[in-house]
Amino acid sequence: MMMTDLLIDAVRRAPRPKYLALLLMQIQQAIAYPAGTLIDMLASLLSIATVYYLWRAVFAAQPQIEGFDWRAMQAYILVSNAIFALLGATSTRAMMNSIRMGAIATDLLRPYSYIGAQFAQVLGRAATLGAFSSAATVLIGFVLVGMPAPPTLAAAGLFLLSVGLSFLISFLLNFLLALLCFWTKDSEGLLWAHGVITFIFSGGMAPLHFLPYWLQSVAFALPFQGMIHTPLLIYLGAAREPELWAALLLQALWVLILCVLVHLLWARALRAADLPGG
């Protein structure tokens, strides 16, 4: 009797339904405005095209750069942008605004873990807006550009695992960033600075090995490398056995470190919270 009561209670407490509901809500929202989504996607395809032609001109003059040939670079440009599309569907701005305006107070009263709810929402957006844009980019890569696929099926699998870890790193970094709003009260400046730092140090701007040496050493000491550099290393089959596991392990380690940081900062943020009432 006691056992079944406990079990029923456990099921009732299980987080699945309410987080799933949040996730589905985001999906509904994304689907409600297809025109905006389409325009965003066309815009991102334009910027991919600029970068693509510039690198093509570079590789026409210099067929081999740091172990990359033009075919590998084609895959790098398209796949890195596909990953960015997936990571870009964040709710950081909304979270920052709710901290600045004080609306977060109501969210904190709700019967769910705030971090869990945020994650469910970001996942929902990534599964619609992100996945759509991402799939379109990859499709263009394979059909129009003829970019190479991962060398083996195992590499493809590990690549997907690495993208998963990349997604976690991106989410945690964005969450940390939004928490800074408790102290700075400004969101725009933080978002822009974060965007640029991510773009350069993740490998989104160019493969990290293309950067000058001093900048590389900075990049390899930071978590951003796990967002683009590591998955692409695996996709291109550039990492050999031991190196490959080390790269994945490093990604996982950063997820762990960021989790701890979020935990610590979250507790401090709530103490520092000085929210406008209303």
């Binding site: 815009a43 334009l46 910027s47 600029t50 001109a57 570079v58 003059a61 725009e188 600075a193 701007m205």
Partner: protein, 266 residues
């Protein structure tokens, strides 16, 4: 006489926005720095590109930066001069344009001064700095004709860029849609104009020359001023004229739109 009168009113209205913006100095500076960071990313990208090859599609690093600074300068100026145009679709759809039409001042002037995007100051600063630095590095042998061409290009480009972004907003007279989708999308096309046109395929070159003529702001004038070979040199020499031509088209569309305008019937 009338021109001076209009200029004076324009300046007074814009100064008003300046005073409003300076009421919130922190916001102003943060946003300015943010825009500056955006430009720095582009420069960093070019720097990495050129660290592996001496030239891209026939252009060296500082030549490419000169080209980039020309378009960056115009996008910054656009924010200062007439970012109020952003409101056009909304004013048409909601019928707010009525207010503008009954006032004794040219509607176009009123729309231009509805808003002032001061955040562009960071972008303006860095584009002028890079333009100056590029000229110092390249030491182009400019005579009086080249200097005149340079000044004409800057003026013509201002007309060109602002007219290009003005045109899709005027479509609201016909579509009655209050979004800026097309203009926002066009904003992304500017990315192409930041780099030498010779790096792109023929269709893209064609689009940027004849359909969305952004190449007349950066690529063609830079090629003429830096003595770069052009497939059709006359396109380069005509660059300062592209602005006035598109501006006249834009003005004609605006006039037709105004005649068509029927308000929202409130």
């Amino acid at each position: 006489m009338r021109l001076r009168h209009h200029l004076r009113i324009y300046l007074r209205l814009q100064l008003l926005h300046l005073r409003v913006a300076l009421e919130y100095p922190a916001n102003f500076w943060i946003a300015s720095v943010a825009m500056l960071i955006g430009e720095i990313t582009t420069i960093a990208f070019m720097w990495v590109l050129f660290s592996h090859v001496p030239q891209i599609a026939g252009w060296r690093f500082w030549e490419a930066l000169f080209l980039y600074a020309l378009i960056a300068l115009q996008t910054a100026l656009g924010g200062f001069l007439c970012s109020g145009f952003w409101n056009i679709p909304h004013y048409i759809r909601s019928g707010q344009l009525d207010q503008v039409l009954v006032r004794p001042l040219a509607p176009l002037l009123q729309m231009a001064t509805l808003h002032l995007d001061l955040r562009n100051i960071g972008r303006l600063g860095i584009s002028i700095a890079i333009l100056g630095q590029a000229i110092l590095k390249l030491q182009p042998a400019w005579g009086i004709w080249q200097l005149a061409f340079f000044v004409e290009t800057l003026l013509g480009s201002t007309l060109l860029l602002n007219s290009l972004f003005f045109l899709p907003r005027c479509l609201a007279f016909w579509t009655l849609s209050d979004t800026n989708n097309i203009a926002d999308w066009l904003w992304n096309v500017i990315d192409f104009a930041k780099y030498p046109l010779s790096a792109y395929t023929r269709p893209i070159q064609f689009v940027l020359t004849w359909l969305i003529p952004l190449a007349f702001i950066s690529y063609y004038p830079a090629a003429v001023l830096l003595g770069k070979p052009l497939a059709q040199p006359w396109l380069g020499y005509l660059a300062p004229l592209a602005g006035p031509v598109v501006a006249l088209i834009a003005l004609a569309v605006w006039r037709r739109g105004l005649r068509r305008y029927q308000s929202s019937g409130h």
